[in-house]
Amino acid sequence: MLEFETIVFYALAVATVIPALGVMMAKDIVRVAFWLLASLSGVAGLFIMLDADFLGVTQVLVYIGGILVLILFGIMMTHRDPVLMDAGEERRRSPFTGLAVTLVTFGALLGVIIGTGWNTATAGDQSRGLRSGPLASEPTAAPIGKALLTDYVLPFEIVSVLLLVVLCGAAYIARRGRDEEASNA
């Protein structure tokens, strides 16, 4: 009898890795974007299974609501006919090259993961404040908010300035017709 958590984990793992392979194999650039959507959703589910509910929701909001829309706009603005784009137009290396790179990297990581004695807590360690198996999950939004204003306040402030600069810079870089404006002036 499989536990419910096990079934959900395997379903999410498949729903994450198969679309990731789709990103590598799909011919159409729009399909690449939608495979990426599926893969990112799977990662959001995995976050939630790891008791990181705030991160799961953030993943959906930022990646799927923000970055993916940005990527789709990028596709629309850099192809004349993105929907009916000729499938053979995008030249790429043979997918087998990518598969080989993937397999070699994954094999190396597999060796490291299996070979490392991770310091995971056993059941007896829980008295020392280490967690082991599934816990009753608590919301993580409050601890994350507290950490952002105490231990992580400096990175938080730096990142806020960075985001402001990035948004201004992106708007400046992407604006159209700088040369014409300069020559007219």
Partner: protein
């Protein structure tokens, strides 16, 4: 079937990371390369969260903080990269990365 432990999550994260690396190597379309980059960043974030969950002390969210900053930086990087690609498209009428070779002797 064994219980789901730390290794299972780390393996999924490693799979996402290596597939993302393969995407970056295979793709010629710069936007697809960007998609592969997002996969790589997601694999790293998943690693942080899994290790925080299984090896961190109860009540600490340090790994999740790293994942939060990874997501923020990924958003910033995607915005800048797409702005640069729009410029590249206006200059060369393509976003195939092997055609952007005007700096080659």
């Amino acid at each position: 079937m064994p219980d789901i432990g730390l290794n299972a999550y780390l393996l999924v994260a490693a799979a996402i990371f290596s597939v993302g690396l393969g995407v970056v190597v295979v793709r010629r379309n710069a936007i697809a390369v960007l998609c592969g980059l997002e996969l790589i960043l997601n694999g790293a974030a998943l690693n942080f969260v899994a290790l925080n969950r299984y090896t961190g002390p109860v009540g600490r969210v340090d790994g999740q903080m790293f994942a939060v900053f990874i997501i923020i930086l990924a958003a910033a990087e995607a915005a800048i990269a797409l702005a640069i690609l729009l410029n590249l498209y206006q200059m060369t009428n393509t976003v195939q990365i092997d055609e952007a070779d005007s700096l080659r002797n």
